[in-house]
């Protein structure tokens, strides 16, 4: 078998990229060792925000939200601009967020500082007794990872992309710095271009290609929780409380309250849910919205934050191996970034350049010791 481009990893990054490349007329194949979304994507918290603290991530996320809107309308999956509401508890936090808001406004993201009372109007069940202000951007939002991922995969296939599930990349054949093919559990696929979109497993793919530079991406266990479904409209936006254990929570289309807190384990490939998380998430959520104490939890689960030292992904070309690209290490915000990441990487592959600030995610920055300002991470 032959394919012009092989993407290793069928998460949201792999399928949005496959769709973007197929749309540009490229012949592309996605290899997924289990099923589409089975990595981190189907385990994510659904949140999509532009409230970042650096220029590059704000710009990329602004573009991403435009694309989320466009594709959700075209493909018909749920994406809602219900906003992100950061609860702030003291003057120092307010000062910091004022600075972020200024930067976000500069690039056209309409975040503003609101009073606790205004926050309560947005989410009436909120307890605002400790809140002094909130950072509110109504154009942030959320999407359903199951519908979104399968929609991108389906549309990519319509455009001729091949998606092979239960097909694991076992090795990458490289001769004199040129890629020849990918060995899988189902045979060899001949190709000249490989994209590592394996996120939490990215280091294993890098090792297969024997890339000579250091790209530290490690898997950390994070967990999510969902409650029994409630009538819609209880919690429309994503609520964030950095004070209460980096908590984030919102209501899904189906009605359950979904979210998590910053209980982290790793590096590890273990995915056993922990009691510590269950306890801490209950504590944080009921601090933010006391009445959630009356609700039953349906499920908790674990997934990976694929983390780099500055919590920014590695996106770009690896020069030493011709036509080897990487887009991995998305920490807790790879779902939201995916459409823009797909666009900039497809730009790079097909046109050799992109308008989006891809340099920020330069995979060589670790080797050079040029870490970025740490990206704002929840959970």
């Amino acid at each position: 078998m032959r394919s012009e481009i092989v993407i290793i990893g069928g998460g949201i990054i792999g399928v949005t990229l496959a769709h973007e490349l197929a749309k540009r007329g490229e012949q592309v194949t996605v290899l997924e060792k289990k099923y589409i979304g089975s990595g981190s994507t189907f385990r994510c918290g659904t949140g999509i925000r532009q409230q970042f603290t650096d220029e590059a991530n704000i710009k990329v996320m602004k573009r991403s939200v435009e694309l989320w809107k466009k594709y959700s309308e075209e493909f018909g999956f749920p994406f809602k601009q219900t906003g992100y509401l950061f609860l702030l508890y003291d003057d120092e936090e307010v000062r910091e967020f004022k600075r972020n808001i200024k930067l976000q406004n500069k690039f056209g993201v309409p975040t503003r500082l609101i009073t606790p009372e205004e926050a309560k109007e947005i989410v009436p069940i909120l307890d605002i007794s400790e809140v002094v202000a909130a950072s509110w951007n109504p154009t942030d939002g959320k999407a359903d990872p199951f519908f979104a991922t399968t929609a991108f995969a389906r549309e990519a296939e319509k455009l001729g992309a091949k998606i092979f599930e239960y097909t694991e990349a076992k090795d990458i054949i490289v001769e004199n710095g040129e890629i020849r093919g990918v060995k899988t559990n189902k045979g060899i696929i001949k190709t000249e271009i490989v994209i590592n979109a394996a996120n939490a497993w990215a280091k294993l793919i890098n090792a297969m290609a024997k890339i000579p530079i250091k790209i530290p991406i490690e898997p950390y266990k994070h967990q999510g929780v969902i409650t029994q479904p409630l009538k819609g409209g209880e919690i429309n936006p994503m609520i964030i409380s950095l004070k209460y254990n980096d908590a984030y929570l919102t209501q899904t289309e189906h009605g359950g309250i979904i979210g998590g807190v910053g209980v982290e384990y790793g590096p590890t490939y273990d995915l056993t849910p922990t009691y510590e998380f269950l306890r801490e998430v209950s504590k944080a959520f009921t601090k933010i919205i006391p009445v959630l104490g009356e609700l039953l939890i349906l499920r908790t689960w674990a997934g990976f934050y694929a983390k780099t030292p500055d919590s920014n992904p590695a996106i770009g070309r690896i020069e030493e191996i011709n036509e080897f690209y990487i887009a991995a290490g998305f920490s807790g915000h790879g779902f939201m970034m995916a459409p823009a990441v797909a666009e900039m990487l497809a730009d790079l592959i097909t046109r050799g350049k992109t308008e989006l600030p891809i340099e920020w995610y330069d995979p060589y920055r670790f080797e050079r010791g040029e870490l970025r300002e740490t990206a704002l991470q929840m959970g």
């Binding site: 029994q228 009691y275 009445v291």
Partner: protein, 483 residues
């Protein structure tokens, strides 16, 4: 006046007048209803003729009770403003306000911010989840073998399925043959309560099972509210089973009940399930249920059985036939009809390929359809903690791999009774005994003398399973037991 009608005041075996607690009042959608302390919300509602407990979210179809032991979520209601309460295992309290849910529920508008305290911590040598015959026997034997035992059950009473078995048991005398199930439950409970090294927690659901350092951690929730951390060196899971449902039109109508739920209604709480019943399934459970219904003064219209032969013991079947109840083999239920609850059942004959034969339909005017079509093991906690699982139809579905001493693939986690594979109370007790002793041996509180007791129980199990009804189970056990 309905109230009096649905409550059993006379029963040949059970005396409910004596058993009933203080009379109190609860409010169903504002309307006062009489209830008795010690009964669950659903029982009080059913006694008042209320069968529709809520409506499904999307199609707004009426919902009624199904399992009556807290395992299926078809009885969720809003109680004192709190949504999604399992009303089949929640006891009534004076002045309680109960509402049906017609949509996805809303949260109550205000509550006081909760005060955080550390979870209550309870430690012992062995934590036993489930107080049915398996769990009770495990507790008694582990305690006698020197272990400090913690026993929890999410229902408000001990005994598991036994508390509703009013019939006399088969088997050997040592295993309580000839004794009624309810009586066995009483005897075992008394034994358990006698032992000072057994601590009992009722109305306490185990929601998580974990390895915690060298210990096992069982996360429990008491009365839907209080978080309790149970720690022990070993855990025995004896969580029993869950009634199976079969597909047919209208199978979600209130009045389509699991056999166990009907027994709970009439035998545990003295509430008549209805007036006219069709039973689906002629295994022992279906046959015994027919007999118990007749005892309670309920009209059993027929039993339908898809197989060409009756599955249960011949004596049971003969008794039912003598009482004039037709047993229709090679028949199945096509649909349940009725507006808000079951009003009729339509059955038909089936051919070798299990297709219904047109023209053979029969209509029964019934208000209850009892499903006695088998059980499946409750293995959720074992699955969650990571025990190896296998699908073994002979044992009722997915079960855990274990050794001959009931230890699963995770050291220190044992299984016993129906949760290890669907069988009977007799075998559940023997497995409980083995698991209790094996756990005590493993953690070192029991002397090696106790090995003999395990061997004895294993021999008794072998003898019990040597009968014709044991063959299938033995086939299944071969697939899950490893050394």
């Amino acid at each position: 006046m309905l109230v009096k009608l649905m409550r059993l005041t006379e029963h040949p075996i059970l005396n409910f007048q004596e058993k009933r607690g203080r009379k109190i009042t609860i409010y169903f959608e504002g309307q006062p209803i009489e209830a008795y302390e010690g009964e669950t919300i659903v029982m009080a509602l059913h006694a008042a003729g209320i069968r529709v407990l809520g409506y499904s979210v999307h199609k707004h179809r009426p919902r009624g009770l199904f399992c009556a032991i807290g395992k299926c979520a078809s009885c969720l209601m809003t109680v004192n403003g709190i949504p999604n309460v399992r009303t089949c295992i929640t006891l009534v309290e004076d002045g309680m306000k109960i509402e049906r849910q017609k949509d996805k529920p809303k949260l109550p508008p205000t509550v006081k911010p909760p005060k955080f305290k550390e979870a209550k911590k309870v430690s012992g040598d062995i934590v036993i989840i489930g107080g049915g015959p398996a769990g009770l026997m495990a507790a008694i034997n582990a305690a006698d073998a020197g272990a400090k035992v913690i026993l929890l059950d999410e229902n408000p009473m001990l005994g598991g399925q036994l508390v509703k078995q009013t019939h006399k048991f088969f088997g050997k005398r040592e295993q309580f043959a000839g004794v009624r199930g309810v009586k066995i439950a009483e005897i075992l409970e008394e034994e358990v309560r006698k032992r000072e090294n057994i601590e009992i927690f009722l109305e306490t659901s185990a929601i998580m099972l974990l390895q915690d350092g060298d210990e096992k951690l069982v996360v429990g929730v008491r009365k839907n509210k209080e978080l309790i951390e149970f720690r022990g060196k070993a855990v025995i899971v004896a969580t029993g089973a869950m009634e199976k449902m079969i597909p047919f039109e209208g199978n979600d109508l209130p009045g389509v009940y699991g056999a166990g739920a009907i027994q709970t209604l009439m035998n545990t709480y003295g509430v008549k399930p209805g007036d006219r019943v069709l039973i689906v399934g002629a295994g022992n459970v279906g046959l015994i249920l027919a007999y118990q219904l007749i005892q309670a003064g309920v009209d059993v219209k027929a039993i339908v059985e898809a197989m060409p032969k009756i599955g249960g013991y011949f004596v049971h079947a003969a008794k039912i036939r003598r009482l004039g109840v037709p047993i229709l083999t090679r028949h199945t239920i096509l649909r349940a009809e009725g507006k808000e609850k079951v009003e009729r059942a339509v059955v038909a004959q089936i051919d070798e390929k299990w297709r219904s034969i047109p023209g053979t339909e029969k209509v029964f005017d019934v208000d209850v359809i009892a499903l006695a079509v088998g059980l499946r093991p409750s293995i959720e906690l074992l699955h969650q903690v990571g025990c190896q699982i296998k699908y073994v139809p002979e044992l009722g579905g997915h079960v855990v791999i274990r050794d001959s001493r009931m230890e699963t693939t995770i050291k220190g986690i044992f299984v016993a009774g129906d949760s290890a594979g669907i069988e009977e109370a007799t075998t559940a007790m023997l497995e409980g005994k083995i698991a209790g002793i094996a756990a005590a041996l493993e953690i070192g509180t029991a002397s090696s003398e106790w090995f003999k007791e395990i061997e004895k129980a294993q021999k008794e199990l072998d003898e019990f399973r040597a009968g014709p009804f044991g063959r299938k189970v033995l086939e299944g056990i071969k697939k899950v037991v490893v050394e």
